[in-house]
């Protein structure tokens, strides 16, 4: 069953990529109509970043309020790691798109600033985790920082566009073809995300069990 799901996921994502390159129409409103197809690779990654960030915050909250179980901390950390991965993918695809459409890899566009600040937050988060020895303290402090950032960063979405001009097209209307590819790709990437998440959490669980055994062995 699990093997079947993996193959299905592989075929699904491959079909989405093939659809992006072979089936999607060009968009004449962009400076480079052919390369507008990058959107289908860029937007789904950004959506996975959002899901992963929300999960990092949610598991942090669960860690704090439901008896500080180490596994919840591990889940929160894993979601943060995957958020960084997809954040980087979003930044790279977005930069390529910005280069071919707007002439520069980086324009200090509000959305670029937001994703950059998200990367900064996760970088600080991992440094903070690295600086605390005791696993219980580490879990608590990391969860509090993630939640603090989760409450404060949405302000960016309101504040940054107020001060800086945006190049991202406002109220874009994708046609049905683009909708289909973008949402299928999002589903595929979310599947990939849950697979990675599941693998990493299982590894963390095994590590926790191993640590406990080693701890008992000391006495």
């Amino acid at each position: 069953m699990a093997t079947f799901a993996k193959y299905l996921l592989g075929v699904w994502v491959a079909a989405c990529v093939a659809g992006t390159f072979l089936w999607l129409r060009e968009v004449p409103t962009f400076p480079d109509p052919q390369l507008a197809r990058i959107v289908a690779l860029h937007l789904p990654n950004a959506m996975v970043v959002m899901v992963a960030s929300i999960m990092a915050g949610a598991f942090g909250w669960r860690y704090l309020t439901r008896g500080r179980r180490p596994l919840d901390d591990a889940r929160s950390k894993t979601a943060a790691v995957l958020a960084v991965l997809f954040c980087l993918l979003t930044t790279v695809t977005g930069s390529v798109f910005a280069k071919v459409q707007w002439g520069a890899y980086w324009n200090w566009d509000p959305k670029q600033i937001c994703i950059f600040i998200l990367l900064l937050i996760y970088a600080a988060y991992f440094v903070l985790r690295g600086g605390i020895e005791d696993p219980d303290r580490r879990g608590t402090i990391a969860a509090v920082y993630v939640l603090f950032a989760a409450v404060m960063t949405p302000l960016l979405g309101y504040v940054v566009p107020k001060y800086l001009p945006s190049l991202h097209p406002a109220n874009t209307r994708f046609d049905a073809q683009y909708h289909l590819v973008i949402w299928s790709m999002t589903a595929g990437l979310l599947g990939l995300y849950s697979w990675l998440f599941n693998l990493a959490v299982r590894q963390e669980r095994a590590q926790l069990a191993l640590d406990e055994l080693a701890f008992e062995g000391d006495f």
């Binding site: 998200l118 440094v127 303290r137 608590t140 603090f148 960063t153 302000l155 960016l156 504040v159 001060y163």
Partner: protein
């Protein structure tokens, strides 16, 4: 009522302990002086200030917030680190509720930062020879004080987190900066408006949007910190 009493006691104790050694106070003032002298030396050549007179308010606003952010990072980090180092955190836990401790520390930090802003701003405006005629003093005071309150709230929270970590120095600025970006943007914009950018008569109106952002930011920062602080403190 007891809560307010506890918070006030923490605030008073914070300043009394600070006054004995004056470590944070002198380091923060020295940092500001060094930064100001560096700015004065680097923006000057044989002909005087190198910045065009039109650009001076913008440059002054940008530099002012850079100074405020980094002085906060040097001075406000001590709040909880000291408690852990001296081993007084436990006594403080017995004496006051978590939220009261946070509020007292926050008030001490905010007052330190406000005093520093009151000291730095006139000197910086003097160094850059920013035109005073087009300045709106009330807007400047409102923007700076709200900005200091917001910065103090975020730094009080992050310094409580950093106090538990083994690396402390650079981490505080790294943790606080991404969270403070909305405040810094609004602060710089509001300061520019107060110093008369695009507003030669020095009206109040161009800065009201920035004040709205700063007020809402400060409210959100204080509320979130109060809600989350108990998790860090009562552990």
């Amino acid at each position: 009522m007891r809560w307010a009493h506890e918070a006030l006691a923490v605030f008073v104790r914070e300043w009394r302990a600070e006054w004995r050694t004056r470590v944070a106070l002198s380091s923060v003032v020295l940092f500001a002086v060094v930064a100001l002298v560096l700015i004065a030396l680097s923006l000057r050549d044989k002909t005087g200030i190198v910045v065009d007179s039109d650009a001076r308010p913008s440059v002054a606003a940008a530099l002012l917030w850079v100074i405020l952010f980094f002085t906060a990072a040097t001075g406000l980090g001590r709040a909880f680190v000291q408690e852990e180092e001296r081993g007084t955190a436990l006594a403080l836990r017995l004496m006051a509720r978590g939220t009261a401790v946070w509020t007292g520390k926050f008030a001490a930090n905010a007052s330190l930062l406000l005093g520093l802003a009151a000291l730095t701003t006139p000197i910086l405006i003097g160094i850059l020879e920013t035109p005073v005629k087009s300045m709106n003093l009330w807007l400047l005071v409102c923007v700076l004080s709200l900005g200091c309150v917001g910065i103090a709230a975020v730094f009080t929270m992050t310094s409580a987190l950093v106090a538990q970590a083994s690396v402390k120095g650079g981490l505080l600025a790294a943790l606080s900066f991404p969270i403070l970006v909305p405040l810094l943007l609004a602060g710089v914009h509001g300061t520019k408006a107060a110093l008369g950018v695009g507003n030669p008569q020095g009206f109040f109106a161009p800065g009201t949007g920035d004040l709205q952002v700063l007020v809402s930011y400060a409210i959100v920062a204080v509320t979130t910190s109060l809600m989350l602080f108990d998790f860090v403190w009562n552990d």
